[in-house]
Symmetry: C2
Subunit: 582 residues, 2 copies
């Protein structure tokens, strides 16, 4: 649907031009409902995530206006809900926390700059069609990272629930010790508010929808109502603090003054030193943010048999981040729960997101004074409940059972994030995954095969009862041939010759060889020479079409001789005097 | 032959125990001849390479005694000739050059320490069976590295031919400028000696053997004689300088005083700061040295249908390097030309190497005063001629033609070595090769296939005239499924569903899928759900045995349903109502 077809530049880069002309009134009801429901979720969430990022609450609201509109024009997903999310907020804090004290004007300026950088990186990646880069963050690495980040995020909010002030920690895992030391200073009123808020949120999240439905409410109505948990705790918490004046002598920490009115629009100030310092985290934000967003967009689109275009998504998210930085926001991306709600509440097009943005504008213009008495503990509770589900124990067990190598990459990421930092953890995990993959392919499955009975089938001599010939060996290698396994190939062929002095011919079966790189080609040529000087002739069988084409082009086939290449192992054995009946 | 069989600890780690008891007199003639011929090559070469490494000539000789004996006991190759080689000498200079001025006592002490470190790394790699690590240095990276190193080594010796003194350069490529600036100071007598030496060496290398054979000399005799070039130029050069006293007023630079007698045996002094500084270069030396050595050993062994064991080779080379460091030497490895000569001259066992070592001992004990008048230009000429052949232009062209990705890795290494340093070049090249390999496998060849005529064969719809069904698609993916291509898999399956609204079934043909990792499994499960919610059923066909086993273990098959997995595409199509005849 919204994929790139040949409609010129505007059609390619502005998906809105494809669906807006066909917009009809039927779509409007769904879009308005979804726009309102998402706004109800987004107001409290955006303030909570901004506070998680160490930013004033209004920065979260600002990041929920222009980026949504920009994404509506450029995005290839129709239901993705863009805005502040927990993971990116944590990354923002972790990247800027070292450069300035959180909450200061300098800190805010750095957040703007970070959004600009992350946005420009995503734009560049999209324009240069580098969307594939995100493929290198493997599933185990993402599970490890997300689970560790959920712990880090969750525990970073515990201070709000406890009502204590704690010092910044050098390493993520130190938060446990710092919180433990702060336990004697717990502020009990705050703690009660926090725990009640968590209980209410969990009730909304886990039970409310089911109860409503068992009372006869339609799922379509029940699901959005159940998502209003954050709004409810925000209202209740604010009323409570206001009614009992808990922010005064009782000392419950509140959000306080949120400036009213629209943010200033402008290009953020840029200092070169800051740019270099922010670059690594901007890179991580652009990759992680995109990964999260594209997964959600793909899943939601596939249900309706629609397609999303990874590179267009990068462009749209990049532009949204640049818009965030120009309008007083901080890095954004597509959020899982809000997008799911947007979809479930009936969003048909990106008009829903524009309606959400308009409602946030109204909030910023008129409603911010209402949040003065909003307790920080409530925002902390919203974050904790939101990220609790991200700790993915089931996937950990599943991956551990399926593949110890993948599990190793997962735990390397998990403990890397907890022990050092998010960036280090992802780096360690991605590198581990790559090296383990290479290690695995460097030890390919190699089978000496023989003829099954009188058939034309050849199977592993170790697994099946097969007939072999003393003078002819058939070896099947189950991997593409490339530098990391070319020595293994050499060992296996020369080994066969060294172990069996009667050997005259070796047939290398290439049915599982999808490509041969220059190293493997060089090895093949060299091994062929070495075998022939040892009196053994090498033959190839079942070489794939594309591989044959490349070998022919480079002149290998002419030198090697096409008569030494057989269509099938059976034909090779017939020719080499290792017949069916003898 | 010399592979690891079950003969206990000593049999496993001391290959000499397997062949020495069977030694008979027949072997002796060949071993003695080869031992003498290699010694004749090794005396001038070891001094030349030591001078290339920035070390006094005797260090090269010392490195040619104990390491050879140790390798004879431990090595699994019978004809490998261990000792100083050009590449490792250059690496030694590049690693120590930054820490101490070349030729000083401190420099020599660091060379000893470097040999110890490299040796211990190799020993550890061998004992932990990490020989496979060397597989990650791909052929293009090695060609790029060797060719660039040949240039760096060659030009580093030009100063000896020109008779000029030049300052140490920060970056390898700067040598061109420094030499150009030194041109006005060229010492003409030295230059003449250098050019004549090069001419004589080239004559020996290129033409002599052919001429001797055309005069009726047997190849067996002609080949070793042709290898005596270095000895001849050493003798001629020394006599010339001595006869005309060119080292006096004429100012031809000579080797000078070489201490007589055996080197001191002892453990080199170890400073922790030096250890950390030398570690990166020691790692490179251990890997590059081993790569060079194992390639030679494998090639020579395969001719005789013998095997070498990579891990045992690491242990033997590691022990040889430790021996070098204990006896005043510097890092060694198996040398290409000397090993080939050793083999050609008739070496049957490692006894040849022991004879070579004895001859070097005699040289050190009695002959060093003879080298006083040996001009440095002759040593420079020996190195230049030895490394000229390492610049591998033919492989560069071949790799460029065969595979642009591999060529990219090659040139990244080549220019990395010239522009930054050897370590940086190898690092850049290896990383480039890995990333390009991953990029390639992340974009697998995917074919939609159809039935060829009335057969049971299914081929690419783009390449062949085949019949397809509107409601059933068959997709073949030509790559193992893993994290880097799992998103591609997802796009391809969901894309098929999005583009064709009549589609009811997709058959994924897994004949080229050698493994499925946790990321791909997760994607497969998710895509299956997404497809089914879009009304499309996913089937699998031609899943390989080992892959099926893993999928069954983790419970995927139970959940997915074994009835959705077909032995062949043909059976799947029959079952799905897409028959041969309709």
């Amino acid at each position: 649907m919204a994929s790139t077809t040949n409609k010129g530049f505007a059609g390619r880069y502005l998906p809105i031009l494809k669906w807006l002309p066909n917009y009809n009134r039927e779509f409007l009801v769904g879009d308005i409902t979804a726009g309102i429901v998402v706004a109800i979720m987004l107001v409290p969430q955006s303030m909570a995530y901004a506070s998680l990022a160490g930013l004033p609450a209004q920065v979260g609201l600002y990041a929920s206006i222009l980026p949504l509109v920009v994404y509506a024009f450029l995005g290839s997903s129709r239901v993705l809900a863009v805005g502040p999310v927990a993971m990116v907020s944590l990354l923002t804090l972790s990247g800027i926390g070292e450069l300035a004290p959180s909450g200061t004007a300098e800190f805010i300026a750095l957040a703007l700059l970070l959004a600009l950088l992350a946005g420009l990186i995503q734009l560049a990646m999209g324009l240069f069609r580098l969307g594939f880069l995100v493929n290198y963050l493997s599933h185990p690495v993402l599970v490890g990272f997300t689970s560790a980040a959920a712990i880090v995020i969750g525990f970073s909010q515990v201070k709000h629930i406890l009502g204590v002030t704690i010092s910044r920690t050098e390493r993520p895992y130190e938060i446990f010790g710092v919180l433990y030391e702060a336990l004697p200073a717990v502020h009990s009123t705050t703690l009660i508010i926090g725990i009640v808020a968590i209980a209410v949120l969990l009730y909304f999240k886990r039970y409310l929808a089911g109860q409503l439905m068992s009372l006869g409410v339609e799922q379509k109505t029940a699901a959005p109502i159940a998502k209003a948990g954050p709004l409810v705790v925000v209202l209740l918490g604010t009323l409570l603090v206001w009614g009992f004046a808990l922010n005064g002598e009782s000392g419950v920490s509140v959000v306080g003054n949120i400036p009213m009115g629209f943010p200033e629009i402008g290009i953020p100030g840029i200092e070169f030193a800051n740019l270099t310092a922010l670059l690594p985290i901007a890179l991580i934000i652009s990759l992680v943010g995109f990964t999260e967003s594209i997964s959600i967009a793909t899943t939601l689109a596939s249900k309706k048999r629609q397609k999303v275009d990874a590179n267009q998504e990068l462009i749209a998210l990049g532009a949204a981040n640049v818009a965030a930085s120009f309008s007083g926001g901080y890095p954004v991306t597509g959020g899982l729960s809000r997008s799911a709600v947007n979809d479930a509440a009936g969003a048909n097009t990106a008009v829903a997101s524009i309606i959400t943005a308009v409602l946030i504008v109204l909030t910023v213009l008129f409603l911010t004074p209402l949040f003065y008495f909003l307790p920080s503990a409530v925002l902390g509770a919203i974050v904790i409940v939101a990220v609790a589900g991200l700790f993915d124990f089931r996937s950990m067990i599943h991956i551990w059972k399926y593949d110890r190598f993948d599990a190793l990459a997962l735990f390397a990421t998990f403990f890397g994030v907890l022990a050092f930092s998010i960036e280090a953890g992802i780096g360690i995990g991605a590198a581990t995954a790559l090296l383990l993959y290479l290690y695995r392919t460097s030890k390919p499955h190699v089978a000496v095969v023989g003829r099954v009975g009188d058939t034309e089938h050849f199977r592993n001599v170790l697994r099946h009862e097969v007939r072999t010939c003393p003078e002819t060996h058939a070896v099947r290698i189950d991997e593409s041939l490339y530098f990391a396994n070319s020595r293994e190939l050499e060992n296996c062929l020369l080994g066969a010759a060294a172990e069996n002095r009667d050997l005259k011919s070796i047939v290398l079966i290439c049915s599982a060889v999808n490509s041969i790189d220059a190293s493997a080609l060089e090895t093949l040529e060299r091994v062929d020479e070495e075998l022939s000087s040892a009196g053994v002739t090498l033959y190839l069988a079942e070489v794939k079409g594309p591989v044959t084409d490349r070998l022919r082009e480079i002149g290998f086939l002419d030198k090697f001789g096409e008569d030494r290449i057989f269509l099938s192992t059976h034909l090779a054995f017939e020719k080499l005097g290792c017949k069916k009946h003898d």
